[in-house]
């Protein structure tokens, strides 16, 4: 049998060594001992056992459901902010629509926005906008501008240039080109990205409560702190159900948008 090229083999060994050494360095640095690892499954089982049966008393439900719903509102409002602002920006960031220096600068700005996780944005906003859902919405909205702007601009860069030329050659203006050449081509993909972002934002908004930016996260951390495990379990299950439901619906709509409707001619 032919041997693998030497260089490739060396790279393979080097990567393996890097992974092994890195893991050992990390495990010893974090003081993770075999004893800790062996004890963990039992400890986790105790916690899970303490959560069931779930606390389904009407008091708990009345407390938790509005919080879960708030996460949904934050995620949607944040996605709307992201979608509305990222849409025009993505045209500026696409190098086949905007001039090169504009698209480069816009791309760098979007990269900069994307670099900050929602949670970091949230606690920078907290002293300004106060505890509550608004802070979470802004954090998610601004982060989404970064991510959606990047994705949408890549969609615009991938379009078929034919329709643009056709519009130009029949005397259309630059605005006409964008409106009738670019937008119809990119709209389905961009809308499906918006929905996809909504799914991600829902998970993010569930977490944001930890710093007090609204949503279900605060409820979970409080119940765990007060050792009310059945109620914490209810919070967890409610979150999982919401996320799964939204994922399923949103995925179905996205499939429909991308596939389009069958039209009888």
């Amino acid at each position: 049998m032919p041997k693998q090229p030497v260089q490739q083999r060396i790279l393979k060994y080097a990567i393996t060594a890097l992974i092994v050494i890195g893991s050992i360095w990390s495990a010893s640095g974090l003081e993770i001992t075999l004893e800790k690892i062996l004890k963990a499954p039992e400890q986790i089982a105790i916690l899970v056992g303490a959560m069931f049966p779930l606390d389904l008393s009407s008091e708990a439900i009345e407390r938790i459901l509005p919080k879960v719903a708030e996460s949904l509102f934050i995620a949607w409002a944040g996605t709307v902010i992201g979608a509305v602002f990222s849409f025009p920006v993505s045209f500026l960031a696409a190098n086949n629509v905007a001039a090169n220096y504009i698209s480069e600068t816009t791309k760098q700005i979007l990269n900069g926005i994307r670099a900050f996780p929602e949670l970091i944005l949230a606690f920078v906003f907290l002293p300004i906008t106060g505890l509550g859902a608004l802070t979470g919405t802004l954090a998610i909205g601004i982060h989404s501008i970064g991510t959606l702007g990047k994705l949408s601009s890549e969609v615009i860069e991938g379009i078929d240039e034919g329709p643009l030329e056709a519009i130009k050659s029949s005397g259309g203006s630059k605005i006409n080109e964008l409106l009738f050449g670019v937008v119809p081509q990119v709209m389905p993909t961009i809308t499906s990205y918006w929905l996809y972002r909504f799914e991600i934002n829902l998970r993010a908004s569930a977490v944001l409560g930890v710093v007090g930016a609204g949503g279900v996260g605060a409820e979970l951390i409080n119940q765990l702190r007060f050792r009310d495990f059945p109620r914490a379990g209810t919070v967890l299950v409610a979150t999982v159900v919401l996320v799964l439901t939204v994922d399923t619906i949103s995925a179905a709509i996205r499939r429909r948008i991308i596939k389009g409707r069958s039209i009888k001619v």
């Binding site: 990390s26 993770i32 509550g132 859902a133 608004l134 979970l220 951390i221 409707r261």
Partner: protein
Amino acid sequence: MINLPKKPPPSLMVFAGIPTAVLFSYYCFFKVGFNLTDFKENLENRYLVTDPLFNPKWSWAIENASEALVETIQIAILASVVGCFVALPLSFYASQTTNQNKISYFLYKSFLNLVRTIPDLFWAMMFTVAVGLGPFAGVLALVMFSLAIMGKLLSETIDSIDPGPLEAAKSSGASHNQSVFTSALPQVLPNFTAYFLYIFELCIRASVILGLVGAGGVGRIIETQRIFLRFDRISPIIVLILLVVILIEQFSVWLRRRIL
């Protein structure tokens, strides 16, 4: 006049969907308390944050946060390695190409989906309760996080492999495990490596915030300083984190190009 085909009318989805989306958006903004006049008023407090934010205390950050930053990187390394290697066998069970048993396929697939539904910080909170505060809880949380992503990506890759080599191995007398090991695994290994690098990047980003719930890493320092509004101490930490993230991204881009 050319006889153009008639433009199809907008579908029901557009008719019903767009107004619903607009109304729902309006309701959401109302519910989260979005109000432009209040917002403008609030913005007058921005100096509380922006002044210290743009006057970073570098020496303090380097002295006090570098140790925690190393801890963050260690958490990410260990968690992504363990998570990805645990996900490797699971992915083969969660793909119909390599697992013909419908029931066990469904169970593995649902398990991966369930793990993916729970956000990373929720895992961290639960593990801090279960195994105690500290980086070990953070590692466990990110193990679940990377396990879920790798499981999804890799099992979908296995779905689309060429089944030919599998059949060839089986027809020459290999057992099921042997055929998977010799024919399916080599096909997805390059993807596995690429996904691993991607997940490692995600873990670095995610491990920064673990400390907010006491699961180790640099987030612990951010959390304590945040409570006292010491943004002059936080901003250099954020810049340091960004530098680490960018460095690791560059390294993994370089490595990925070498491998693929």
